[in-house]
């Protein structure tokens, strides 16, 4: 009854009712933070309001969802306990409809704002983190560059430090370090040799052994590095800087106290510096340097364990010993991870790697549902939905498509993804990217048709994509969403229609208008020497009349196939222009077309049944020195053909000036394309 009254008052919202405490908890589990607000009574069957609150508190729910307590109770201790358990507001009975509506609306608004702010802060933190990581990497890279090292040294140190520290913590089961400490030490380890910036290059990169004097100078880099960092007073409180200072100063100390610069002994040396020292020695042994070759992993570990390369914490040494078999693999993996981190920022990578935040979010549950649906539809229609973000440069494709194409659901830097580029050729990829780059917020949609190779099959696809722009002023290009459709079937339909529109259905030769278009095009492109042959079948009407039309058709097919065989390659054009008349357009013969013409003429003569097949041909040959166009060629060839027929058929005539005033009345073809 009380719920009914509340529901009536709040009828503008979507309401889920629970008739007791346990039901309330079950609903909260089911709907998660799709619930925007909870109105909670105190006295309820099974579990009371406080019990519900306590349970939700334990799961961190009260931080995500606002709880408003409703009750007739208003003793101070009761109110206090409710607030302690995380309720955000109280509504006392009897309700006032307006008051309930306002309280609910205000609370919702507050939470929305808070969530938006939290998102903004998160984004800022991410930005800052990436900037400072970049700076640290630039710094460490400068040192390496000057050292003539490969650029991998710092990465290796970072990776090794991470591996050693994780093992070390596992071993000593200490809670003194947290994972963020590992992060900081790793980052700080990049800077261990920063003092070398003050060491002259002659000493730094000397190929031979250092003299005692030179070695003394070299040794100074530890103290110099630490000084440089500790003098940055405005950042004295930064944990990163403190750890980096320790590492710089003490990464050449030895566990037995015989190191430099301070001769610290045992655990006087911070563990961060101890670990970096070990990592440094291992990497130095296994890398090539100006003065030495790289040692194999086993040998390096053996030398370190034998104490040939300095004195280390025995616990650390046992870590190294235990890790030894896996170290090379771990180092490669961790180095790769770190490189990926450098590219796109730590937090994002963690998100990808663990899917942590994503999956636990109940909004994702909704998305998941939606995805199943769209996957199904994608599969039915063979459509691929994709999404690209500029920062980080990641492409995501729908999971059906991920499986179908073998690309996986997410991949970094598409321009470097060989699998993708072998499917969509690099050429087409750049065409698409160029189209997208040329979009504007006002005109964000592009279309692109091309062929792709999927599982060895070539397919025509159409991509429709929309560029996404930020709300800033000026807007920033932030990504792309789009869809790829399989248009293979449509494409072949169109190809088929195109074919039928340009070809003669009986002989399969080009038809007249297609042939004229092609000839015009060749002439326009400045074809070298060329000749237009017009021919028709002698006494074709007689053949048709006495043997029937299907016999006539077979004569035409015979001519067509002979013509096709006797021209050269793809350059020459053969067409049936209507009835029993054919065109042959010869392009780029050597001296004189006569030989070719003769060959064609001979090939066409023969017998089909009782009918003697012969043709008459008129040829107009031109070369580049003359001005000509299709109309002139046509007219000339037509006149030559007329002459050939007039003089008794079954022969060929080349056009010459003497035919200039001949008027064809045999060939009814006029030039209306």
């Amino acid at each position: 009854m009380n719920r009914a009254i509340l529901a009536e008052i709040l009828k503008n919202y979507e309401i889920i009712e629970a008739k007791n405490g346990q039901e309330a908890i079950d609903s909260l589990h089911e709907y998660g933070d799709r619930i925007s607000l909870v109105l909670l009574d105190y006295v309820m069957p099974v579990k009371n309001g406080f019990e519900v609150l306590q349970a939700m508190n334990d799961e961190g729910m009260t931080e995500k969802i606002p709880f408003i307590m409703i009750s007739a109770e208003n003793s101070p201790s009761y109110v206090e306990q409710a607030f302690d358990l995380g309720v955000i507001d109280f509504i006392t009975r009897p309700f006032d409809a307006l008051m309930v509506q306002h309280r609910v609306a205000n609370t919702l608004q507050l939470y929305t704002k808070q969530k938006r702010l939290a998102d903004m802060v998160e984004e800022q933190i991410l930005k800052r983190e990436r900037q400072s990581n970049t700076l640290v990497h630039i710094l460490s890279h400068i040192v390496e560059f000057r050292n003539g090292e490969s650029g991998m040294h710092v990465l290796h140190i970072q990776a090794l430090v991470k591996i050693f520290l994780q093992k070390f913590l596992q071993k000593i089961r200490s809670h003194r370090f947290l994972s963020e400490d590992i992060e900081i030490i790793c980052m700080a380890s990049c800077l261990h040799d920063i003092g070398k910036i003050a060491i002259p290059t002659e000493i730094l990169n000397k190929p031979g052994r250092l003299t005692d004097e030179e070695f003394e100078i070299m040794k100074k880099h530890a103290a110099i590095g630490a000084d440089m960092l500790s003098k940055m007073e405005q950042h004295n409180d930064e944990p990163l800087l403190k750890v980096a200072t320790d590492i710089c100063r003490w990464h050449h100390e030895r566990y037995d106290g015989k190191g430099y610069p301070d001769g610290l002994k045992g655990d006087q040396i911070p563990i961060s510096a101890q670990v970096v020292a070990l990592a440094d020695v291992y990497d130095a042994l296994t890398s090539k340097r100006v003065y030495k070759d790289a040692l194999p992993h086993d040998k390096a570990v053996k030398m370190i364990l034998n104490g040939e390369c300095g004195a280390f914490n025995p616990v650390l040494l046992s870590c190294l010993e235990e890790l030894s078999d896996d170290l090379e693999r771990l180092l490669a993996e961790t180095t790769n991870e770190l490189m990926a981190d450098r590219q796109s920022g730590k937090i994002i990578n963690d998100l990808f790697r663990n899917n942590g935040i994503n999956r636990s979010d109940s909004a994702v549950a909704l998305l998941e549902k939606e995805r199943t649906r769209s996957d199904f539809i994608d599969e039915m229609t063979e459509e691929v939905e994709f999404e690209y973000t500029v920062d980080p440069p990641v492409v995501k494709i729908s999971s059906w498509a991920a499986e179908y194409t073998g690309l996986g659901e997410e991949f970094y830097s598409p321009e470097k993804n060989e699998k993708m580029l072998s499917s969509l050729s690099p050429d087409e990829y750049y065409k698409l990217v160029t189209k997208l780059r040329n979009t504007t917020p006002e005109n964000p949609v592009v279309e692109h048709e091309c062929r792709v190779t999927i599982n060895g099959h070539r397919k025509w696809i159409r991509i429709v994509a929309k560029s996404i722009w930020s709300n800033e002023d000026p807007p920033r290009y932030t990504g792309v969403i789009g869809k790829m459709m399989n248009i293979d079937a449509m494409k072949s339909l169109i190809d088929n229609l195109e074919y039928r529109a340009t070809h003669d259905s009986l002989t399969g030769l080009l038809n007249r208008s297609a042939a004229i278009d092609l000839i015009r095009e060749k002439l326009k492109n400045g074809a070298e020497k060329c000749a237009l042959i017009m021919l028709d079948v002698d006494f074709f009407k007689t053949a048709n009349d006495s043997y029937g039309h299907s016999f006539g058709d077979s004569v035409l097919k015979h001519i067509a196939s002979r013509l096709r065989q006797s021209v050269r390659g793809k350059n020459d054009i053969v067409a049936r222009v209507g009835g029993d008349e054919f065109f042959v357009f010869l392009v780029g013969y050597r001296e004189n077309p006569e030989n070719i013409v003769k060959r064609i003429f001979t090939a066409l003569n023969g017998k089909i049944g009782d009918f003697t097949v012969s043709v008459s041909m008129g040829i107009a040959a031109y070369d580049k020195t003359l001005h000509y166009n299709y109309e002139d060629l046509f007219l000339s060839a037509d006149r030559a053909l007329y002459c050939a027929k007039q003089s008794g058929r079954s022969q060929y005539y080349f056009y010459d000036k003497s035919m200039e005033h001949t008027f064809s009345n045999i060939s009814p073809i006029d030039d209306q394309s």
Partner: protein
Amino acid sequence: MTLLQCYEAIGGNYKSVTSRFGGERLTLKFAFKFIDDPSYKELEDALASGDTEGAFRAAHTLKGVCQNLSFDKLGNSASAVTEALRAGNIVEAKALFPELERNYRETIGTIQELRGAEL
């Protein structure tokens, strides 16, 4: 009979309820709904079977509904029973119950009469 007359007859606060519900429409709707509200019956059964805790919840709910509907007279007797039960005193609650029963019958009877007039 009007809603106002009904409230006067059962010792309710017409002004309070109509101002909180923004008029008579909702008030009428819920007053009629009260006829089918199970809390009273639950309270009666729980008292009869000696279930102090169940009786407390039912009395508390009845009290809440009365507050929401501004059935002040019935609410007061529900409140007295609730407090006795909160203290675990089922004997006192049972002693207070006849008063509540009288008020409840009066209230229900009047609302039914009102509904009859409305129909």
